[in-house]
Amino acid sequence: MKARVVVTLKSGILDPQGKAIEGALKSLGVEGVASVRQGKVFDVEFAGADASAAKAQLQAACELLANTVIENYRIELP
């Protein structure tokens, strides 16, 4: 079973990389961009098919995958 963890910066946390990407998009002529925030995606594959067990394991994994001082995370299961 494939799961996905999406880690994003909390609002209010300065994201200089997102800012630089935003500037680059504008210079490429991409129109209508109000802002860009950079995040991370982790695709985690489990050997079994038990979604609730996988969710519990991913909750534990997020202690490492995200730093909740500055980041939020979202667990996506099929």
């Binding site: 946390i13 300065l14 001082v69 500055i70």
Partner: protein
């Protein structure tokens, strides 16, 4: 003073740190491996040196902060033992929960490697008693992620409880402005734990211990530690 230096895969300042400790204490520190589970008996000081542990993968210090040896380091700190983290070591201390907050990418996105002045906030700690309060010192910095960030309540607590150890300043001692190399909140270069037995800082005092390399302003930190235990 019995010191131990923890080496992680990707640490690269452990030799400089060992040299500074040897100069100040007169004895070689024990070098520990990240996979070790115990500190040598009677360890007074544990040092997490600079470098790029685990290639800075995931977040700087994130994987090292959860290494096997860190349980022993946490227990040492809980007993009131001294812990020093420099540069990547500071990042590891934040990721391990021994210090609050996080070191983010420098606000200007550049890796900065240069000499840097710091203001010593207080000189009544095990790390700074050989400095004067408010003294301006010159050491060096070399980091891409030294932008200290924490929530407002944490910053207020650090300031209110006198837990800021060093701030970035210019040669005249003026804190902040262009002297802040990385966008760090309140120009913070280093912080203490609540009991001031854990210190994390981005600058490298261990590199300024010999006139040959342009200054010895880092020596007093190690001399302070040598006389602390």
């Amino acid at each position: 003073m019995k010191a131990a230096v923890v080496v992680f895969p990707g640490s690269n300042r452990e030799g400089d740190m060992a040299r500074a400790l040897k100069q100040a204490t007169g004895r070689e520190p024990t070098m520990l491996w990240h996979a070790d589970h115990e500190l040598p008996a009677d360890t007074d000081l544990v040092v997490l040196p600079g470098g790029f542990s685990y290639g800075d993968y995931l977040r700087c210090g994130a994987i090292a902060g959860r290494a096997a040896i860190m349980d022993a380091v946490r227990a040492h700190a809980a007993r009131g033992g001294l812990v020093l983290g420099v540069c990547n070591g500071f990042q590891i201390l934040c990721e391990s929960g021994l210090l609050p907050g996080v070191l983010m990418r420098n606000a200007n996105l550049r890796f900065v490697c240069r000499m840097q002045h710091l203001k010593v906030e207080r000189n009544d700690t095990a790390f700074t008693r050989h400095y004067a309060k408010g003294q301006t010192i010159e050491v060096c910095i070399a980091h891409g992620e030294g932008n200290y960030e924490a929530d407002d309540a944490t910053i207020e607590r650090l300031e209110g409880d006198g837990l800021v150890a060093f701030r970035y300043c210019d040669s005249a001692g003026n804190v902040g402005g262009d002297a802040n190399p990385n966008g760090s909140r309140n120009d913070i270069a280093g912080i203490y734990s609540d009991r001031r037995n854990v210190l994390g800082l981005m600058p490298h005092p261990e590199n300024l211990i010999d006139p040959l390399v342009g200054g010895i302003d880092g020596r007093a930190l190690f001399e302070s530690l040598a006389s602390a235990a």
